[in-house]
Symmetry: C2
């Protein structure tokens, strides 16, 4: 790759890494990293290497690590990352225990991430790296047909997402390859949903994300499962302003509003945003929160946190049972 990578200014770095300008400047002041060069006017110029490193740090922070420790380290992060992330991503990331266990012999644990969960996953990873789009499409399509939509989403796509993310961290996969993969899965899931029967009038569920949250994949997976179970989904795409989510719920008389927060969504904003939306919604409208960042909404009352994809189906089941009960009560 003989392409030259020119340095970027602070705005470009913000766009590329998702780290705010204020954050970048305050890190420089506090931790002495990054150390961008300056142009003729005294403006910061970040080298491609530093941006790359910032991206990595961002992902690790999203997994529960803390900036102070990450920035000090040199390259042992690379060890920390691939080893630890595999074991912790499934759970709500037990805070603090991560860096402490560094004292153990790193190679001792049986948690070496790449322990192939399934040959299918390895195959897909290889094909993503190989840039063979038709082949990748075929593989995924076949897997879906063989497993059925439910198992495909839960057992294949979920783990695949994790595997892709980890492979990126290990430097085995490029961002554009990740994008290609995401796009393929998106196409596939939408295609599958299009072929479902036109949706009964079961619970109406509004699905969307708040502004600044643009990860759709998790939401799409949930939508697929819910639609498969006969719920009538009303997708609003991404980045719907809070007030508009509330209006949409009213307009469509939704029984449920389902939001997705990815792990990379600004930690602090999740709880206030969710609480605010909860306030705007009618009391009988349920509010479900899913995705890697959903744990941060745990404290908010009147909200159901879905910690896995299957949890969404359980919630759907609960809702239906509840609905039956209520109508029975009303009838009596």
């Amino acid at each position: 790759m003989s392409i030259s990578r020119p340095p970027m200014n602070i705005g470009a770095v913000e766009r590329d890494t998702g780290l705010g300008k204020d954050t970048l400047r305050v890190w420089e002041r506090r931790y002495g990293f990054p150390t961008p060069a300056r142009d003729a006017h005294g403006e910061r110029l970040y080298s491609a290497e530093q941006v790359e490193r910032l991206r990595l740090i961002k992902r690790l922070i999203d997994q529960g690590h803390r900036p102070g420790r990450l920035i000090g380290a040199g390259s042992e992060e690379l060890t920390l990352l691939s080893a630890q992330s595999a074991t912790t991503t499934a759970m709500p990331t037990p805070p603090g225990d991560i860096a402490v266990t560094t004292d153990d012999t790193p190679a001792s644990a049986p948690s070496t991430a790449s322990a192939a969960v399934s040959p299918l996953i390895d195959r897909v990873l290889a094909q993503v790296r190989g840039h063979d789009l038709p082949l990748l499409r075929q593989t995924l399509n076949q897997a879906m047909l063989r497993q059925g939509l439910h198992r495909f989403v839960v057992e294949t796509v979920g783990p695949l997402n994790v595997a892709i993310g980890e492979a990126w961290m290990r430097g085995e996969i490029e961002v554009f390859e990740e994008h290609l993969y995401t796009e393929q899965i998106t196409t596939l899931l939408r295609q599958a949903m299009a072929s479902l029967p036109p949706a009964a009038s079961a619970p109406r569920i509004v699905l969307t994300t708040v502004p600044d949250e643009l990860h759709t994949l998790g939401l799409l997976m949930a939508q697929a499962l819910l639609a498969l179970d006969g719920a009538s989904c009303i997708p609003l795409g991404t980045q719907t302003p809070l007030f508009d989510i509330a209006m949409a719920a009213k307009a469509h008389q939704a029984h449920i509003v389902a939001l997705s927060f990815s792990a990379s969504f600004p930690t602090r904003q999740v709880a206030p945003l969710v609480a605010q939306l909860r306030d705007m919604l009618p009391a009988q409208t349920e509010l479900w929160i899913g995705g890697g960042g959903s744990e941060r909404a745990r404290a908010v009352s009147g909200v159901r946190v879905l910690s896995s994809l299957d949890a969404a189906l359980v919630a759907l089941d609960d809702w239906r049972r509840n609905a039956v009960l209520e109508s029975a009560t009303l009838a009596a």
Copy 2:
């Protein structure tokens, strides 16, 4: 709509309106608008009304108006907007002439936006406002089947997008209704593309947007047309970092890279970004730029600006003719 709309802090306003924190503060300093209240700690609190107005101003700026004039005005903007935007959106927005023509009698011109271009469009608008998702789906689906993919995209979806945008400006449509519409079109187009034959090996085209640009609809429309014409499209979704776009083009040996810039993309960044990407790409790889913000890349050399959807097809045609010529030359 009895829902209370609590005031927002500056970060939330940035997310909701797309106006940067710096911009919001500097407007306040210079123009005396907005005038947010302050909380106990001296932090800005924007009222829902001001945010609404900011959203409107943002859209007008995206159409070529200038902040200085917009912010001074009271509600005559509402006139300016609906009347003028209809006539100018199609063209590259002749700069400056807009506000000048205010001297004319406003009602005289035959440019009243809502002059129903097609009954279909009015029907769709009504259905979007009516929140009847199944009906909307059916209408769009039928239109596509009747017109065929090409005509549907060019003659229906394009004008519809404009009509929806204008209806929003006139306050006739809410953001969430716009979202629902967008989502439906997206589903429909993807569905149509899925049913196309698996793509020949004609020119390989990488399609994506740069970071911070998340409007996919235009890109998707282009992709639909190109795929329909037998090009083999490699979609990377949105927000691919520049360097990764270049890497993707190399990895897939793409003949063409196609980017989309919406009108709301920060004006100043378009030209530098495009120039930078042009530098990274191999000389023989063509770079096509489309969308409402593409005119801003006109100055960059070695780039093809597509000012309409049909222009993409012309470009495709040109490329193919050129390819034939070259191979003939090589053979001779």
